[in-house]
Symmetry: C3
Subunit: 446 residues, 3 copies
């Protein structure tokens, strides 16, 4: 930090216990077990691959130590990035590393330290404590077991991408039968299956329903008769059956205008299931996290999870009908690009049920966080801003990612509120606490 005020605010923000409202933590193995778990995070495999590393070290056959060496061997090409800075902070905070930079020469020593440190029986507890984590939200598939862990620390959330976008896959339909006992053949049976999923998750303390959505998705209500028709088209196993039914006309009301739309059965089912999920969020009183804008598999030869990108045309106007139709459901919205932030600011400023949610993925770097946060602080009610989530796959990432956010937040509070005399330091920290913790508690009813 460049000045005392920001440093003081940062220190005060770090003392606030976290409730992290979105992660990919596995509650059975939340902490890392080797350095390979850390450097296998897609940010590092992506950047190493993008900077010239082949797929070779990422194969199963490669030993974890060799994979770590390969990735560290390429890190010198991206030691300018904030992702490198996260890793350096992890090495210092959790691995006893004392250097100023990590290079491939440190690979063996770091790997060995990690083996020793991560194998301590209370390592998970140490990380939770050091990172000041009260609770962290999970990303659960609809058929995940929700037993065997403390759901007040690892909070279940129903992730619904598979239901919305992959119900044409026999495997998904079979998993749905296995979990709910319902064979989905029409709107009614689908509704029954979805209700059972929500009931199970709610009973286990789930606090949100969540989904990531492609740039061209525009939710609308699908009448049951059409959903029936589309589901029947999908349930034919052969591609021919789908083709025969594909591309038929649906009546749609989009942004207030009645129109006829040529839709594949898949698209009709996606819209139908999505709308049904919103109805169940209303019934079960769960916020519906929307993560808007990701195109899957854009870079076909990319590393695992390093294939997805976005486009520049997605607009929140596509969600107009949804926000109007469900005033009782809170929609915490994540956008993939900083270019969409002004829309998010304006929609949150106007719609009572739209709230801002963190800084997602490609926007999760200080340049975008700083800009987006400042805009939100100036124009969105403070009670409607969920400051940050870690999106972490392993607990060790919560600390450096939140520290990055807290640094940016401390500087924004200093510049926007304390220095212009609008708030005292105490008041500014209270505003920070609202973004970091209070709003998570209130919005998700934790």
């Amino acid at each position: 930090m460049n000045d005392n005020l920001s440093r003081d605010l940062y220190t005060a923000l770090c003392a606030i216990p976290l409730i992290d409202p979105h992660s990919h933590i596995d509650p059975i193995a939340p902490a890392s077990r080797s350095l390979d778990d850390i450097l296998g995070y897609h940010y590092y495999t992506e950047l190493a691959h993008s900077a010239g590393m082949s797929h070779e070290p990422l194969r199963k056959e490669t030993s974890p130590r060799d994979r770590v060496k390969a990735i560290l061997g390429h890190m010198g090409r991206f030691d300018n990035t904030v992702q490198y800075a996260w890793f350096l902070e992890i090495a210092r905070e959790f691995l006893g590393f004392t250097g100023d930079k990590v290079t491939s020469a440190d690979a063996d020593a770091l790997f060995d330290s990690a083996q020793t440190i991560f194998s301590q029986p209370d390592w998970e507890k140490q990380v939770l404590k050091k990172s000041n984590i009260d609770a962290i939200f999970l990303t659960n598939e609809f058929d995940d077991s929700l037993d065997g862990f403390d759901t007040s620390v690892y909070v279940p959330c129903l992730r619904t991408d598979a239901l919305v976008f992959h119900l044409d896959k026999p495997k998904i339909r079979q998993r749905l039968i296995d979990t709910t006992g319902v064979d989905v053949g029409d709107a009614q049976s689908l509704r029954k299956a979805v209700w059972k999923l929500f009931a199970r998750f709610k009973a286990k303390g789930a606090k949100a329903c969540a989904i990531s959505l492609p740039p061209d998705f525009a939710p609308v209500k699908v009448p049951d008769a059409e959903l029936d028709r589309a589901l029947k088209a999908l349930s034919g196993d052969s591609p021919i059956a789908k083709a025969v039914f594909g591309g038929f006309q649906f009546a749609r009301t989009i942004a207030g205008k009645s129109t006829g739309v040529d839709e594949s059965p898949q698209a009709a089912v996606a819209r139908g299931v999505f709308w049904m999920l919103a109805e169940h969020c209303r019934e079960f009183e769960l916020p519906f996290d929307l993560m808007i804008g990701v195109n899957r598999t854009v870079y076909e030869a990319g590393v695992y999870q390093g294939q997805d990108l976005f486009d520049r045309q997605t607009s929140l106007i596509q969600y107009r009908d949804l926000f109007n139709a469900f005033p009782e459901v809170t929609f915490p919205i994540s956008v993939l690009t900083s270019g969409q932030n002004q829309e998010l600011v304006a929609y949150s400023w106007i719609f009572p049920n739209v709230v801002t949610n963190g800084h997602w993925w490609y926007s999760n770097i200080p340049a975008y966080i700083g800009r987006d946060l400042t805009e939100r602080l100036q124009a969105v009610p403070k009670t409607k801003q969920i400051g940050y989530y870690s999106d972490a796959y392993k607990l060790e990432f919560v600390l450096p990612k939140y520290n990055m956010y807290r640094r940016v937040l401390a500087e924004a509070l200093a510049d926007q509120f304390v220095r212009p005399g609008r708030m005292s330091e105490t008041e500014a920290v209270a505003l920070g606490k609202r973004l970091l913790r209070d709003n998570v508690r209130e919005i998700f009813d934790v």
Copy 2:
């Protein structure tokens, strides 16, 4: 202000008498008469509603005092916003408030102070003087009376949204008959009516024609024969008549390419009237203010004036034909989003008849103003930048809104020109004066 240089520049900028080139002031009741007039401004009702206030306090039946209490009761949820800061500044500057923050506990005292202070017979004059306002532009409906006020202080402007987008409504057509004596049935009679409107406004000292436009509007010339056909379709009173004629094909030249377009009569009339307005701006030598990008009634259950949003796809390329066709007309352009600012910068840099105009609505917060202003200062000729307008509904808002702008401007001048040694302080203030006043005078011929 954080430093002496910025503070000095700010003070010097505050001494420049304002000509505010866009507002919604009622010239018959320009100043507030109660605190309800202040807090009834849509920014406050929107933010309070978005933060949880119901529509209940906004009903006519609610007493002004109770409405004020309800809004102040929710202000604690958005005291981070710049709109709250405007209100605090109004309370301090105009209501004798001395506290650091306004809470619901202050409601009665503030309400009573306002009653006393606003009822002074010379209150309007006091506000004009304290706010250093020489003149302020109005937003007049085509049939507004332009008598009974000093048009050199309250400058008439012809607002044309109703003519362009609502000529299908019998009420609007009747009002047009009442004002011009012309029943609009074809292109020729429409032209006659529009000419009469311009003649009347021009005679009363109007200085601009203005309109707000939806994101998908793309002006093109509509041949008289087609405008005739479309107007006839509209003039049938029954919806059936409109439907029968709806959706027919027009020949269009869009962005240099001939194409056939399916257009509703409404859309054809909108384009036809718009183009005709531009022709009359040319004839009557009036700038045509375009406020680009607003989608009306996106949030259907929103408060009055709190229902409008935008999308992310609007582009100035849609105005290419217009800018090319009317080199004699100056188009002061307001864009709704900061994301469009680079387009505005580039179009103003290239087209002699395009000038930048203020920071509109959802972009009217320091984060966006600062960014957009800096870009304009670095790349658009200084004679082509209209710095700011208040958009105010009551005079008391001119001061805090312009102060917000002047703070951002002072910092931009300090950072971009004075500190790098490109200008002296005196020269920087002159540049500020050009943006704040000189360009308004020259462009609108005040």
Copy 3:
């Protein structure tokens, strides 16, 4: 520069010899011969015209001295812009000017100084030395002579706009015959002609193939049979022949989906030639510079080169198939707007063959450079960032443009790396050198 650290970094960056990877320098007349060459740069003619200057002084009949006077006479209207600052720096660095600002009163003296100074026999060498230029890339038409200059200083690059977008013009086809001896009538002969062009350029030391692309361009592979059909339609001389064949259906795979597309023969040829160029970049191991997003002739009455603008919808998703199909080709990407920078950051972060390339045209001002650069520094591997190119038409512009970039870069390095303790000054300068020079050498194999 506002502080010592930034100033020190700037000084160190200035000492790094430049390899400028994109310009429009004429290698036979690289330096200016009169002040008219400087002020005839389209930035000045655009801004003067936009600020009120007519086309009159730009006619051939006007004497260079009078043209210079006319442009300087309008400079007071845009002395706020960064382009004015470049000119002031040229006047000071190259013309012995000692004033703080240039006005029309300086026209004669500056014109005369320029005549004297520019006529020195070693002026070109002086400029190269003073500007610390090792090498500078050219923009060569496919039939440019590549003899008579030192190609290790003036590096040839094959510019391909004419081949891709104007092959319907008999003049272009004739020039292609004249250069390659091949009459292009079908895919096979086209391939032969393109191969010959690449062979000639490669033999003369060309280091890149380059093109500027309109916002709606979306490259896809065109099967030879369809390219044959489209080329035949084009080769009929009469517009009728083109119309007859126009608008026929092509089968396309766009973003992974098979689809039928109505395309004009021109569009099919454009896509076909473009894809073929990428194939030859692969064969001849040349990077393919893509400059994405320019709409030509938007302002029809604009000055030469001052007619082009952009829209707001272009997305890198349009290039998905290309980036996937050519993993062996490096694509240095320039985007026209800062709003596209996050896409560029993300695509470079994910695709090994996508690298960021400079700050093009309408984004070439400090406000955009600063923002775009910071985003790139935080998220793109440092080995994949080509910092800057001058885009200059005359050598004298390399110095002020690079100085502008180096100032922004020095401040970014200070703020992002040195002050937060992430790098020493020496390391920060090394990072700067990587962006300014090392990456150009490695990526273009200089």
